[in-house]
Symmetry: C2
Subunit: 200 residues, 2 copies
């Protein structure tokens, strides 16, 4: 029983170190050797717990990456309160409060979406899953906003949801190119205007 626990601890250690290296240096350029050097464990230990780099990659996406999006972008949508204010809080304030590091490194999910091979179906499904969770939660919030009369009723919830997500992921990529926040501030101004347009 203590063995199972240790095994789980090791897997978590590997996943965490792997996520950090993927985020820092990209998925393809991060080797198993580099990951296991970080854990101070050996390559043998890795292949005892995982059958391939791909299996690890899928676990990093479905556990680590997904959890971050759920905690940062999805759960806050489900809290009670004015739907419009929640959108403002989640999309605008969250963007403002990102650390310099997060601004420079971009969105872990978006990085993976655009780095990982376009024919790597398994990764795509895992990533699409996260997007779908996010979209669904956003649609629910927008529907709620319509009912509570804080958001316009003549807008398509799905359309607004995917438009918001696209813009958010888009700017997180573009921001990486700059060494200051100018482009982010312009985006925030554009986003603020957009949110006003869907507000009652």
């Amino acid at each position: 029983m203590q063995q199972e626990l240790k095994s789980e601890m090791t897997k978590q250690l590997i996943i965490n170190k792997a996520f950090n290296l993927f985020y820092e240096n990209g998925f393809k350029t991060t080797s198993i050797d580099k990951i296991m050097k970080e854990t101070t464990l050996s390559k043998g230990a890795f292949y005892h717990h995982y059958k391939s780099k791909k299996e690890l990659g899928l676990e990093v996406i479905s556990l680590k990456v997904q959890k971050r999006v759920v905690n940062g972008m999805i759960l806050p949508l489900k809290e009670s309160g004015n739907a419009y204010q929640i959108l403002e809080e989640v999309f605008i304030n969250r963007l403002k409060e990102f650390s310099i590091h997060e601004k420079e490194q971009g969105c872990p999910m978006n990085n993976l979406i655009n780095e990982i091979g376009n024919n790597e179906v398994a990764y795509q499904i895992a990533l699409k899953n996260i997007i779908e969770l996010w979209k669904t939660a956003l649609v629910e919030l927008i529907e709620r906003g319509k009912r509570e009369n804080s958001l316009k009723k003549d807008i398509s919830s799905k359309a607004v949801a995917i438009y918001l997500i696209s813009a958010f992921e888009g700017i997180r990529g573009i921001r990486k190119l700059y060494d200051n926040d100018s482009v982010l501030e312009e985006f925030l101004s554009g986003l603020t205007f957009y949110l006003k347009q869907i507000k009652v």
Copy 2:
């Protein structure tokens, strides 16, 4: 003189094959060997014309990638006519008319932005350059639209420009995850609504 021409032809051949492979399989996973196999030339030929893979990458970005964005997204903005209609034409119709391949592979520029290392300054500058060209052209069009009274005067041109670009690049990444156009169509509905909000 004919030698210079041949040299230029060879470089163009290498750039074109490299761009295609980068677009198809990503930058990092495309080796010089693979590129030169496509050209049916040798590795010696490559290193006669380029001093490193990095030099080639920068040329592919500043020549190939940039030209595609200029032709597809920037030059159309400069044509005469109603500013609002041009925005509709360039952003909505262009997205609709993408080939299946272009939908599945995403935007070459966006792929590079999110794949290439966050500490690779030279690449970032080359990519930022393209974004700035695009943004500037969009701002000019929006300003024109304000003057010609087809776009609202109380909007920030820069904010609208970067918001449009972000959303466009964002959806091109997200679309790659799907095997149909559903998410694209929802996005187009969202974008159509947005454009109406900045229309007079």
